[in-house]
Structure formats: C-alpha cells, structure tokens
Amino acid sequence: MTDSTHAFDAQTTVPAGVRFARSGPSYWRSLEEYAQTPEFEELLHREFPSQLDQWNDPIGRRRFLTLMAASLAFGGIAGCTRPPQETIVPYVKAPEEIVPGKPLFYATAMPRGGYALGLLVESHLGRPTKIEGNPEHPSSLGATDAIAQASILSLYDPDRSQTVMHRGAISTWDKFMTEMAAQREKLVASRGAGLRILTETVTSPTLSGQLRVLLEELPEARWHQYDPSARDNVRLGARQAFGQDADVVYSFDKADVVLSLDADFLLAFPGSVRYARDFIDRRRVSSGKADMNRLYVVESTPTITGAMAEHRLPLRPSQIEPLARAIAGRLGIERSASAVKLPAGVSEAWLNAVVKDLEEHRGTSLVIAGDGQPPAVHALVHAINGALENVGQSLSYIQPVEAQPVIHHQSLVELLADMEGGRVETLVILGGNPVYSAPSRLGFADKLKQVARKIHLSEYDDETSFLCDWHIPAAHYLESWSDARAFDGTATILQPLIAPLYGGKTAHEVLAVLRGRTGRTSFEIVQAHWRQEMDDDQFGTAWRKAVHDGVLRAAERIDPSRFRVEASGGIGRRPQPEAQTGSGTVEVEFRLDAALGDGSLANNGWLQELPKPLSKIVWDNVASLSAATAQRLGVENGDVVEITLDGRSLRGPVWIAPGQPDDCLSLTLGYGRTRSGRVGNGVGYRAAEIMPADGARFAVGASVRRTGEKHPISTTQSHHAMEGRDIVRVTMHQRVTDDSQSATPHSDELPSLYPEYEYTGNAWGMVIDQTACIGCNACVVACQAENNIPIVGKEQVAVGREMHWLRIDRYHVGGLDNPETYFQPMMCVHCEKAPCEVVCPVAATVHDSEGTSNMIYNRCVGTRYCSNNCPYKVRRFNYLQYTDETTPSLKLLRNPDVTVRSRGVMEKCSYCIQRISAGRIAAKIENRPIADGEVVTACQQACPTRAIVFGNLNDPQSQVRRLKESPLNYGVLAELNTVPRTTYLARVTNPHPDLPMPAAAELHGEPKVHADPNKAES
C-alpha cells in the first residue's frame, strides 16, 4: 500500500493549496512509517474505543502494571527517568508538494443519501485529519454539518471490514474477480437474465454511466435502488402535481415568509447546510438589515427547524394533510369540501394569520412539505407555491439530480417479488444494508435466501454481508475516486485523501469486474467517464481544475411555466398508499435520527456521543411522546414500552419531548444495529422492525404497552428551564428596529477593584449570534475533530463526564405542550477576569498577552478547583484515561497541532489556539498584522449559518468588533464581572402581530410593544 500511497500522492491528486504551517510532535508519523511498524499490523485487530469498557474493567495485568508505574511515579521516580529514544524517518524520495508540518487541503465531496456535500479535507503528510466545507461549493459555501465532520472518524474505524469474505471465509479480490469472470460467460449468454443490481440513491454520473452500459450489454438484467433515506413521497408528489419528475431547489434568500409542513429543512434535507445559510441570512438584523423573515412550522416531534420558528404548531403527521388542504382552500386552490374543516388543535386565528402572511408575500413566501408527508401534501404544496407565484422566485425546479429517478420502495418491492419468484440468480448489492434498513415486513432477509449468488459491497461486514456469499470491503469516500451531484445538481469529482487503509474497493471497480474489465482502478474509470464529458484537447487542464476546485457545474433551472397546477378539487387525491391502520389508538412516525441518520455510521463514536439537538440524549434512540400521552400511558422517561403496529412490535424506552403532539410516538431509524461494529452494536432499538410495508413514514393505529422495564438513558443536559435567570436574551424584531436599547435592559459595566490589563497587539474575542444558531451540532463535532477530544461512553456521560469543549445549551420557555426552544452554544468564554485562573495552585491556566485564557495540560496536576470556580462550567476533566492510546489507526486521525490529553488533566476551549499560533507565526514571518478572518476557529468554520464570529477586538475594522457594538450584544453572567471575551447577540424573533409574542421576550420586564403592522410587513 506504500506505493499506492505514493501513486496518488505524487501524481494524481490536486491539493487545493496550503493554508499555513502547522507543526506538531508527530510530523513523521507518515503512512510510510506506519506501513512498516507492527502497530500497523495490530491496527487490524485491536480494541476500538477502549474507554467504553474502561469503567467496568477489572484489575487485570495491564491494570497491575499501571498500578506499579503509578506508584513508582508517585515515589517521584518519574522525575529522574529519561524521555524515550525517538527516531526520524525521512522520505526516500520526497514528494514535492509535501512540506512536513504544513497541511495540504484537497477538495472532494461526501455523498450522503446520494447527494454530495462539497468538502475541503486537511491532510498531514498524507493522512486526512480534518474536514472543512468547500467555500466554492454551492451545497456548502465553506460550512459542514455534524455527520460530515464525524465521517473522518469512520475512515480510521478499525471495525471497518478489512478483507473480502466468501461464504464466511476470508478470501481475496483476485478470487472474486476470477469467479466473476466465469459468471460473466453465463450472463452474456443469458443476456443478463437473473442478474439484479441493487444500489442506494445514485447521483454519480460515472456510476450511472457504467450501469447503463452494463444494462445495454445485458438487457435482461435489472437495476434496482433502495435507500432508507430516499425521498419517495417528494418524487410521487411532483409526479402527481406535474406528471413528470422534477427536483425542487429552494432559495430561502428570497423568502420573507416560510411555512414548513413537517419539513426539517434546516437539518434533514439534501442541501440543508446551504438552506440554513440562506434562511438565516434573511433573519440577521444585527447586521443592520431592517427586515427579517418569519417562519411558521407545523410539525409532529420537535425539530431544530421548529425551534427556530416564530410560530410552531404541533400536529400529528396525519393531521397535516387536512391542514394543507385547508390552507390551499383559503388560497382558493383547493375546492373540495374537505378543505373547510380544520384538524383539532388548529385555531382559526392561527390559520388566518398564516394565510394572510402568505398572501401578503406573493413571490417572497415559501411553503415546504417534509419527506415524511404523503404525496398528496407535496402536490398541494406545489399548487400553493404556484398560486403564490413563488415558483422561479423563492423556489425553482430542476431536472432530477438522481441519475435514474425511481420510487425506491416500489423498486425494492419489485426486486423482492423477483427474488421470491426465483427469477434472481445473482444479486449484486452495491452499498447499503437493506437487511437492516428495509422494513421487516418485506422480509428481505428470508427472500435473500432464495438468491443463488449474493454479492455485497459495503464498508462494514454488516447485517447484509452476513447473509451474502461474497462480501467486498468498500472504500471510504475519502479513499475513493468517484463523483457525485449535490442537491442543486452540481457535480463534484471525489478524490482520495489516502490509499484504502483496508484495501477497500469502490462500486466502480466492482461494476468494472461485472463488465469483464477486471483490474481497472476507479481513477481510470472516473477519468475515462469525464474524458467523454469534457472536450478532449483541453481535458488535462479541465480535469485538473475540476478536481482542484471540487465543483463541476450546476444543473440549469427549468422554465417555471412548465410547472402549473390547476386549481381543482382534491389535489393529490388519487390512488396512493393509505396510511397503515391498526387497531391501536396511537400514531407512530418514523424519521431519520438527528445524529445517526439512517444508521450507516452507527459505529461512529462521535455521532453516538453527539447530544441530540433537542433531547440531548446520547448513545440511544427513544420513542418520544408528549407529557400528556406519557401520563395517559402511565410511563415516564426511560420506561420501556412495547409498541405494536399491525401485528409487529418492538420494545424501546420512551422520552417526553416538550412540544410533541399528543397520542403520537416518534421513532428514529439508525439504531438497533447488530453487526455495525463494537461501538454501534446493540445500541437502541430498530425502528424498521415495525415500519409499514407500504413505505409510508407514519401510521395510525399503533398500540403501546408498558413493560415495566427501565432503560437507563444518558443525557448531557437534565435541566431545561432558565429559572428566570438572564441567560438567553430574547427580543422582538420590532423593538430592535424601533429603538436600539432593546436586548440589554441593564448595562454590563461593573466597577472592578483590579487595575485593567492593557492588551496591546491582538485581543481575541468572539461573538455568537443566537438568532443565527440553529442548534445543528456541526460546531460540536468540528471542535471534537479539531481538538482531539475523546469520547467517554454512555456510562461516563451518565455520571456527568462528557468531554465536549463546546456544548449547545437548550432551554425551554413556556408550557410542556408547545414551549419555545432556545439554543445557546456554550464554551469557554475566556473571561478577562477569569475566576478559574486565580485558584489554580500551579499556574496551569493563565492568560496570554492577547487575552485568551489558556489551559496548559502538561502543567495541570488536576485539583479541579478551576472547574468548581468556573461559573459557566465549561471545563472538562479527564477523570479516567479517555483518550484511546491503544488503537493505532486513531493515532493517524489526531490533529498533530493539539496536545493529546491524558488522564487527570483539565481541558477546555482554547479558541483553537493552535490556529491562532499558526496565523501569528505566518504573519510575523511576513512582518504584517493578522488580517481579519485569517484566523478562524473550528466551530466558526463549520457553522452553516455563520453564527460564530471570531477575531481581533483591537482591530476597529474587524467583524467581531462591529458585532460587539451591536445593541443586541451582551455577556452571559457578566454581572459576575468575569468580563467574558465571548459575548452573545440576543435572539431576535419576528412574530406575526396578530399572534402571541414569545414568552421569553417578556422575561426582562420590557414593555409589551405591539408593533404597527406596516413594520411587520416591510
């Protein structure tokens, strides 16, 4: 693998340019070296997150040795020992673009549910260490989301499958190729009869190209697609509305009024990262803009989108279609009788306000339906947007991004029918894990048995692989040459950052084998495909540019006139999958998990330990329900219930979600894996167990039974009220624009006994805009990846020892039935009068001359006094050896510029001091000041909505300085005179004048301003 590393390092990949020098203790930890070390062999079979079982680990041999070591050290002997002998291993032939200590950045993209998110990946000496967004890429604009940030951990996951398996025995790629060669004879003869290929959503031009050619060769063969995150309803809705396939691209930057019908567009849509940016940019009043958009959300279980809404309305999924119909009725589109009657829980006032607002904003409004809603709702929404003249304005239609748009569920059902009918001899599953993800009712596993030859390509030896004859380890996307298209059709060429660590293969290579082109590398395949697309004479440069930029071309918008929905009766009323109906009284909905998605990354510790945006639960999925329903069922948090839907049932713990509609349980996919790896196995329940057979994402008539069992659930935040304390300040748009005194009722200026420190030179500070923070967690994982923050496991979180430097506090205001929700990212605020520093007996935490509060790990003895004296409780302590120092592959992952902390040491947010240092050194070498925006913290860089702004307070031109002067700016707990360097901008909301203002806005005893409608309408 050494040579192959060279192969692509040297010639083919194209660095996106060096940012700045970043040195580290392990510069020479290059792959070359690893290839030779025994660790690299061990890497294949070593315990993954050893910290998970650290807790119950008995005193074994290792313990005893540590014990001896510790007691020796205790005797002070450690003081007299010499540091271990280290070696330097230089290259034999140095690749020219690699400078030890300077990271390179390569453009690529992460395909998720088929859709690409454009990325720049940081690489140290050929090992990717950190993922950033690609500023050039429309789906990212430089930002990322939590899952993309975490995906780098999966790259190094030692649980990924490492060898080709044949009927449970270790085999080789060559053996596979020879067998396939033999098969191919027959297939060609039978024109491909009995050959079925099952993929996930395919947007890759190359892959679809390969498939088409294959299907031309073998016309009897069939290509099926099944993706648990597929958006069948959206597609059906479009077909019903227009009789043709089309994807929608929303332009939130043009929308003043947004109505979401169960659509979590800030987190769960392809393109959510971009949508979040555009949506928030229309709300940012701190940046002087006068007007501000308004968001109405109708949804079942609370989502971050709902949390951002001015007016949120909890409704059971099944009640949303009637509401949509009613709205359509008010707008004079829907003429059927059913249009008039309102679902329970919707007030006339509410409906009128929404309709009024929409009508007043023709062309600048936007109505969105969620993936979970039935096609009819989508059809209605198309009609409504059409009637409101939004098409071509706040949304536009494009040719489908999917290479071959299908209804995945139908496609799967057809395949299963063929399998059952014995018409399938060879089934090639390229990615995906249908045995786990497909609804159990479809009986995929059983029917698979009737297939003679089953081939599965996947990153893990998972549930599906287990039932297949051939398992081919798949290459991680950071190891692959490929391509993919984004939500708006933009194509990106994926380039590998590293040679496959475990010899993984790509779908391209497997298909090449099927076509008898054995041994073609995916590089050749992808390049060959684009050679056809691009004009030949400039191909070299064009290709280099495409790979370098990571952006190829967007799909052009289609003329809106082709999308008209005539006003009629019963839009979308046509033969459609009926919601599954059982005998029970409760409604169940199924959605992708906010942290794990569809579960393909279930073995990713960062995601498992990522607090869910609202419940803050880690290492579990729950059945969320409303307080009232819980009371009715006589259950409380953590009680295990049995949920039965039409004969099938599952057991899972319940969790009360404030704002959840009554009589509705929300289950999340992605958990209950059995062969995901040591991290993900046996975590949570498997929702697909009872999913309806018709592919609907919710069903009425489920019944719930108490089992009496308890299931301990770990959360990172157990208290949800602000206790009337001045923590998150909320104000109304009218107040901000009327007069600028609003958000800060009392000034933060306090007298101090101490003389002021003069901070000449740089003075680093941060401002967090709470209007912009959507609580999406991208920053949390970004921080974890940048700063080598370990995970601690469920038990330790339960004790209260999670290590995240950055947490997103979530507060509820108002009743349990439908409270307001506020997010507040909380990390070290770098107080100028830091209480933590004064109490440290060894000066392990002090200020530097630029005003950041530093934590010097190697000096820390661990008295934990600083944590006690920190009013923000943002310090984290290594109570045990949390950092996994035994798994070699994880050493490759670590950021060489950040010290890895050991047991017994305090740590906290450092303002990414390693990035500050790098920027400072770069500037000092050139004898120039550091430019604004030159130093960017990891959280800031990841944030989709640019809610976090970092910079030099002494630079009058800096953005952070300007924000600090905003009337919305305030310091949390500033009354303690800690003089925090990180301050917050009050959350601004823009409620409809006819509807109640947010309760939180009244907390600070400000007069209830009832703004004049004109202002609200502007």
Partner: protein, 179 residues
Amino acid sequence: MNEPLDLYGLLAEFEHPEELLAAAAAAHDAGYRRVEAYTPIPLPGLTEALGTVPTQLPRLTLLGGLAGAAAGYALQYWVSVIEYPLNVGGRPLHSWPAFLPIVFELAILGASLTAVLGMLALNGLPRPHHPLFAVPEFRLASRDRFFLCIESRDAKFDLAQTREFLSALHPKTVIEVPR
C-alpha cells in the same frame, strides 16, 4: 583547691521540694556557684534560688518569626513579579493581600522551629550520656526525688567541706558522682 579530677560533684537527695528549695538557697548563700538542682517537676522559684540568669529564648523566637515572614514575602514577590510575571485572571502581579496567609504561616513556622531548637541548643541537649546517669538513685529524679548537685569545678568545691555542708542540710543521702 584540692579537687579530685575523677569527681563530677556531690549529689544530695531530698524527698520534698521545700527541702530542696531551702538547700539550693543555702548553697547559693554559701557561695557555691556551680550548683544545679534536678527535679521531677518544674519548681517555681528554684532558678531564682540558684541565681540563674533568665533565658534569651523569647528574643531568638521573635527573630525566627520575622525571618520566616520576610522569607515568605520575598519568595512570593520574587516569583510573581520578577521571576515569571503571569497574567493570572487579570489580577495584579503584586497581589499583596493574597500573599499574606503564607507570610503568616511561615512566620509561625520560623518562630516555632527557633523556639524548640533554641531550647535544645541552650540546654545543651541532646545529651544521652551524663555522669549523673551513673548514679542509681538519680533514676528517681524523674519520679519523686529532688536532687542538688554541687559540681567539682566550683571554685569553692572541697570534697570534705562540701560533703559536710550538704549533710548539714539533712538530705536523704549524699552521693559522690564519678566523672
């Protein structure tokens, strides 16, 4: 002055403190200067009777205390202001109020050590070996007997006369203490 070189002194044993006090006074009046009394308990007035000068210990102790305090403040000032000035939570480098507790503790420490070591030094302790320990009766000096010893190096010492003088004080016994 015929003083036998192999003699440490003459030891008189008494049963009651009052007798010893009287004897001590008498010996002093008789002009004996190298006289020492040995008692199981500190007897008020005994030193006066023997005409011993009061001790310097209190002054030494005071000096010890001052030294400790000075050292304490000097150390903290030097470290925090001169050697490695650090911005600790925005507090002044010379945070004198925060330095006082340690100054106080070190003052006490210095004084106490001086008091104890000074006492031992002035008393010429430790001295596990001493001629008196050779006298069997002397073991009772730490129980219930009171002794008066006129040492042979006393200018006025004369074995015969001194023995006579002591016996005149009606002791229980008079013992010759070998050197």
